[in-house]
Amino acid sequence: MRNYKRVTILPNVSGQPRSAEIYIARVFIVSAAAVLVLTGVAKLISATGRSPMLEILDPIFLVPFRQLLIAAGVLEVAVAAACAFRRSHALSPLLVAWLATLFFSYRLGLSFMGWKKPCSCLGSLTDALHLNPTISDRIAKVILSYLIVGSYCLVIWLRHLDRHAVSRPT
């Protein structure tokens, strides 16, 4: 009977040394949680606004943008909370990867359907900062790229570590 050792990137596990990779991974998860809280709260606040845009139906889900912003905001805050509070960080990059893929697919879908308007993914936060929609759209794209690349890299790396641990019985 072989014993398997679960790999976590938790830095405070006693006896485990902190490597640079672990530190980077932790920084990524914390930063992803911060970004998700920020964008999620921005969406929730925006959803309470009175912009006529909020009443327009989302072309994919056929619900008003207001409801979509609420759903997305709740999802982001929930994932951020999971990233911030979960002791085992093994699930966090998976959740971030899933959410980022979802958002990326949504954008891809809009583009596939011929939607030309900038995505109001950051809600009215950018309005408050007097950013024009194109710039805020670019910011959202940069954030999304960061989340996607970071989370996928982390997931792949964790898999690699996990396999390594599995192949080395204790």
Binding site: T48, P52, L57, L62, V74, A78, F85, M113, G114, K117
Partner: protein, 373 residues
């Protein structure tokens, strides 16, 4: 009943509580929070919808004094819901009955937004844009039920009675099918047109205004979606009005089509309807089409709608539903919308959304199947 902001607050509070409970492995607690949240989110809009239905029924009772099955309500704009009735309900609005079957309302407020619903379809008259003020507009909720006629800032609501229906040109007799009817005449500015005298013969008509002056004219198709309405007063001064049709959404995207006019007056100056950018039209079309129950009476299948700013919007329908919309601006960008593509994208996204739940369920099933040692 909670407002949208309060509802969002409930969700915003519930989510971290749920997350915290889940993180602390308190599954019972997290389950309770999830159930309560879902219950709140699902039932509160339902309550709101119920209240709205109740209001509609009440309005229906009121309006039955004037016609059959007509709902009228007024909105200040897209956000504030102010239910209207046939008494003043908006600041600056006055309503009075002019004839047995007619009542008129004047709206001074530039931000007033009027929505009327009939049993089957609905239309809106938007007083938001100053450009509208110089045009007389007509919107028919339904070709047999209800009209809204706007003459500048004066709105006339004309429930179509059996008598009025007789005066209205039957679509089959009109060379233009379902397009230009008596509403177009009223849109010309002949606000005191005497409907009792209106007679159609094919695409020509004769009528009198309230002062007994004779009006005659004709309607000529110019393209699939455009018509020209020529008419003269006492056989002397001739007016020409170009009628185009453009999609418009209401707050619930129930109204896919609204009439829009650009007219050439005696002075030869063409007055254009409100101009829309390609994005705006695309947005309107995208917003309007998904909830469109069927192709509205005003549009023809396969129609290309041409707008006053040169934008062309082509509707391709299949089995009575609009399947594809293409929008193009002269010389440059085009956009398109396809129902099939939307369905593909939506399905993919829903599957992706459910992926974690599926994976968790799969993992638990595997764990359950493993023999415990």
């Amino acid at each position: 009943m909670l407002s949208a902001a309060q509802r969002n607050s409930v969700i915003s509070i519930a989510t971290p509580v749920f997350s915290a409970a889940y993180v602390r492995r308190d599954l019972r607690m997290s389950f309770r929070v999830a159930v309560l949240t879902v219950f709140g989110v699902v039932t509160i809009p339902g309550l709101a919808a119920g209240a709205e239905l109740h209001s509609k029924a009440w309005l229906n009772n009121v309006s039955t004094n004037f016609s059959r099955g007509v709902h009228v309500r007024f909105k200040r704009d897209l956000t504030g819901l102010g239910l209207g009735k046939v008494v003043p309900s908006l600041p600056g609005m006055s309503v009075h009955v002019t004839q047995t079957d007619w009542f008129t309302a004047s709206i001074d407020s530039p931000s007033a937004f009027l929505v009327c619903n009939s049993l089957s379809q609905s239309s809106s008259v938007n007083q938001h844009q100053p450009a509208f003020a110089e045009f007389q507009m007509v919107a028919g909720c339904d070709s047999t039920n209800f009209w809204v006629i706007s003459n500048g800032t004066n709105l006339q609501f004309a429930p179509v009675t059996e008598q009025a229906k007789g005066l209205k040109s039957p679509p089959t007799e009109n060379a233009l099918g379902l397009y230009a009817t008596v509403e177009d005449l009223l849109a010309l500015g002949v606000a005191d047109l005497d409907l009792q005298t209106l007679r159609w013969q094919s695409n020509r008509f004769t009528a009198q205004d309230s002062r007994g002056r004779s009006i005659s004219g004709s309607v000529t198709p110019e393209s699939d979606s455009d018509e020209r309405l020529d008419w003269s007063l006492n056989g002397s001064v001739t007016h020409s009005t170009h009628i185009i049709y453009r999609p418009q959404t209401s707050e619930k995207a129930e109204i896919p089509v609204e009439l829009s006019f650009s007219s050439v007056g005696q002075d030869g100056i063409q007055r254009m309807g409100p101009r829309y950018s390609i994005e705006e039209i695309s947005e309107l079309a995208l917003a309007a089409v998904p909830s469109m129950p069927s192709v509205p009476a005003y549009t023809k299948i396969g129609t290309t709608l041409v707008y006053s700013n040169g934008v062309r919007l082509r509707l391709i329908a299949d089995k009575g539903k609009i399947r594809k919309i293409t929008v193009s601006e002269p010389g440059n960008r085009t956009g398109s919308y396809e129902r099939t593509r939307r369905n593909i994208v939506r399905t993919a996204l829903i599957l992706l959304l459910l992926l974690p739940a599926v994976l968790i369920a799969q993992k638990r099933m595997r764990a359950a199947q493993k023999p415990k040692l």
